[in-house]
Symmetry: C2
Subunit: 196 residues, 2 copies
DNA sequence: GTTCTACTTGTACTATCGTTCAAACAACTT
DNA sequence: AAGTTGTTTGAACGATAGTACAAGTAGAAC
């Protein structure tokens, strides 16, 4: 245990980063299992295998914990989509596969994200975090079309498809998702293969 | 205790329908103000100006209350969109105006609907109710196009636009919404004015 | 009148919540 | 060894939650 994580930019030591990450993971597990309403210092602590007071030691208030958890999922999602944007492959297909994950192994995370982003509607401090996903999708869309309406349509469709997949609770077909995205982009006739 | 509930179409009297409606309204007011997490028998009762026990008299459990409230908003939304489908006007424009309301006077209701439909992701009994909005939009879309992808794109876009409007918390321009819907429909080039 | 039934209230029990706090623990400095 | 600093614990306080329940009302049926 020397300079454990540091993940900070300044020369100083990173504080309880590892514990914080554990607690955030436990929080997301609770959100996945019982919903955001089930998140309490006690349930989170039990899930993490620590004491209640330790949870409050790292996150003084429940709100801090929820904000941190939402930011965490948002960051993970952001990393995924940036990978698609900067990567070499077909961007629209990459997005389709990412969305389709909401119905399979990524359902838990997608569910947590929706739950927590709904929370954001009432806490102004969380709105920027919740908006990040949309902005990243918009950036991706901007590489595929110049029409602002097409960008907006792709962003909205991506979000709506995620919602539909979550509520219908069925494994999603990434080919189908891709086709719907093409439709929204207006690429159904010509630009279906132009991605990148 | 015979045919108590039914309060429906048959000639019999409806039981505590009025009180129930009052309590549901109060519930939605609480959801609007404090979110679904703020819904308790006590807060609802205070909002409705009744005693706590009366709230439990009509809705034995908190879950019953939330289910009833969600069903209520879903019904109201359903009525609105059926009006558009069966009405004489431009259906796509009607839908655009309905969506744009989420940013203005209808924000409260849209917020409540999102909050409560998120709740549905974890309670299977609520999923059909949450799905109804999508199915109605799909029905509307089916009158405008035959392509299944276009229908799916319009439904997803409608949902995503609502979300965006709610999170961005800005009054929405129904013309803009209409243009994005046209884009998703694939009607940007030709069919922009074909609605109906 | 009495009776019955739907409705309404006040009170209370039990559980759990967020949060606090003093004390113990661990590792590293001096 | 003593001290310092960051971490962890167990116990507790006050507040609020869901729910239950016996008692009280009002009005229609008898």
């Amino acid at each position: 245990m020397d300079d454990e994580e540091r993940e900070l930019i300044d020369g100083r030591r990173a504080r309880g980063t590892k514990r914080r990450a554990e607690i955030i993971d436990a929080t997301l597990a609770v959100v996945t299992r019982d919903g955001a309403a089930g998140v309490t210092h006690r349930t989170v602590a039990t899930q993490a295998g620590i004491t209640t007071s330790l949870s409050t030691y790292y996150f003084a208030t429940l709100d801090d914990l929820l904000v941190a958890a939402l930011s965490s999922v948002a960051d993970a999602y952001t990393a995924r989509i940036r990978q698609i944007i900067d990567g070499p492959g077909d961007k629209l297909r990459g997005l389709a596969e990412l969305i389709a994950e909401s119905g399979g192994p990524g359902r838990e995370r997608a569910l947590a994200e929706r739950e927590l982003s709904t929370l954001a509607a009432r806490r102004p401090a969380l709105a920027p975090v919740a908006r990040q996903w949309r902005e990243n999708v918009a950036e991706l869309a901007a590489t595929l079309t110049a029409a602002p309406e097409a960008v907006a349509a792709l962003v909205a469709t991506s979000d709506g498809l995620c919602t539909a997949i979550l509520i219908d609770n069925v494994p999603a077909d990434s080919d189908y998702v891709h086709r719907v995205l093409c439709q929204a982009l207006g690429a159904h006739r010509d630009a279906a293969a132009t991605a990148r």
